[in-house]
Symmetry: C2
């Protein structure tokens, strides 16, 4: 069944049916109503593939993330998908999950599907797939790569705002030895975050002990490993910032097992503010990165590039801010 069947029954042409379906103002209200009734009655569903072929675009966007089971990303997906669904656009999602070849393949599949653009939240990024996107004029929006170009926008995470708040908070609580557990090194996003930490420490007049800078993996296991190393040190920090909340949860877990009360013996600050942060024990003081705002910015950036394929990319920014809960307290003497 297609538009022509609808047209025949409604005694109009298929062009008119198409116009009704796309909300053209050119159709007389009475005619439109008649067509709509036939569509309803026949339960006609238009063929999106034909429309995409004709139109050259598929009214869908690709979304690539590193790990869907990380709550930060699943919460992001929820917002992203919701915003796009309101605009009647689909999301083609790909979660890499530490499969090396995943990204190349995912991008290819999305290009085959004629997505209007791709949101890339993965840190690791090769130049090959990006070239393919540029070559085929597919807009790309990345997170915290701080690189823009034709058809390529970026959304920077403004780590400094939250980090500064966090350090003022800890400094005011009397902490002088403050450590940081980062993400996997080599990723730009990890570097930006760690640099923001170092700057924020200096800003409140403290120094950074390199031994207090540890590496994690953005997962619980990384936080656990890092805090164990820290507990083994003779001189320890009294407070810790982490690259994300999962890392902080790993830290809390080991501290709990080791009989280190939080925040009495140790203050811990997370990053992201995933929903879980408010639910673990003790509720996590963390730097909130608003998912809803981030998702909205991605959509804005994508639509801007999709509308005008020759547009130069923009650099966007999303701020972070401190949310104080119960995992931070006065420094032990």
């Amino acid at each position: 069944m297609d538009q022509r069947d609808v047209a025949r029954i409604a005694r109009v042409s298929s062009a008119t049916v198409s116009r009704v379906l796309n909300g053209s103002t050119l159709v007389k209200p009475a005619t439109a109503e008649r067509v709509r009734r036939v569509i309803e009655q026949l339960r006609f569903i238009p063929n999106g593939s034909a429309a995409a072929l004709r139109y050259g675009k598929s009214s869908s966007y690709g979304l690539i993330i590193p790990d869907i089971t990380n709550p930060f990303f699943s919460e992001f997906i929820r917002s992203f998908q919701e915003i796009l669904a309101d605009r009647n656009r689909d999301v083609l999602m790909a979660s890499l999950d530490h499969h090396a070849s995943g990204m190349q393949e995912s991008i290819r599949r999305m290009m085959v599907r004629q997505v209007n653009g791709i949101a890339l939240l993965a840190a690791e990024i090769e130049s090959g797939p990006i070239e393919a996107l540029v070559h085929n004029r597919v807009p790309l929006v990345t997170m915290d790569r701080r690189l823009t170009g034709p058809g390529l926008s970026d959304i920077a995470i403004h780590n400094a705002s939250g980090m500064n708040e966090a350090l003022e908070h800890l400094h005011a609580l009397g902490h002088r030895r403050i450590g940081y557990i980062g993400g996997a090194s080599g990723l730009t996003i990890s570097d930006h975050r760690q640099n923001a930490f170092i700057k924020a420490v200096k800003r409140v007049g403290l120094t950074v002990d390199p031994a207090f800078l540890r590496e994690g993996n953005y997962r619980i296991s990384g936080g656990e490993a890092a805090i164990q190393q820290i507990l083994a040190m003779k001189t320890r920090p009294t407070a810790l910032l982490t690259a994300n909340d999962l890392t902080a949860i790993g830290v809390l877990r080991v501290l709990h097992k080791s009989g280190c009360p939080v925040p009495q013996a140790f203050s811990v600050v997370g990053f992201d503010d995933i929903e879980l942060s408010d639910v673990i024990y003790p509720p996590l003081t963390t730097l909130r990165l608003a998912r809803q705002e981030l998702a909205q910015t991605f959509v804005t950036a994508l639509e801007a590039l999709a509308t005008d394929p020759h547009a130069a990319g923009n650099q966007y920014t999303v701020r972070t801010r401190l949310v104080v809960r119960e995992s931070t307290g006065p420094a032990p003497r």
Copy 2:
């Protein structure tokens, strides 16, 4: 750029290019190689919309879940997507997130996209959208609805296997008063699970105190509310089963706050075995529902229906089994 451009440069017809792309055996190896080289060199990406239009199907599947931030579902998505990506198929995902109208719209969008079938893990289900699917011959596979038909398969969760193990475990530990915190009532899946619990209790020779049957919402908050009611009772159960792990986590959290040591004062058993279960404190004894196996069964069921659209649906089953960790122990005297 299209197949004809490739064809011209490779000095073959577009039909041959199409055959090469689809791995037809009809092409001479030397010719295929030549065509492949041109494809590579031109970085040609085929147009999936055109293929879908011509072929009538889009080589993608729809996936509808109630809440992507529930780890059970995000872990399922990961497996589901991974299995389909290996078969070069895309996933169109929709998370309902308590939006009432979401399902109808999601299904419609998927039909417009010509999905080969839809996996529906949402509990609430109206007949309207299902009719639309049947009417358009779109295969549907549901979870634990125990209803099949033409183009409609179901995957039942075999609650009994795990529930029986759990009750034997608790009974052996000396527990005699055992409670259950279910999901939202009225959903078939909640009913099946609760009934399995009641049967399992009777099976070990105990009786079910109706006051020990509480209702949750499959989220942490539901577990919290239910355990608070239970703590307020004069005669309390000594052990609790829950409809999923998030509910159990809510229970653990309130017990911890209330100074009730687990498992000394209370034994708690979850359901699902999400990754978090092994990470919270104490690690959760739970009924494992293998996500990988569930996802694989969904794919099998969908492909079976997609291959033969006139096929009658099948009833599949996925078992559960007890994973003992540290949230269960001997009953208090």
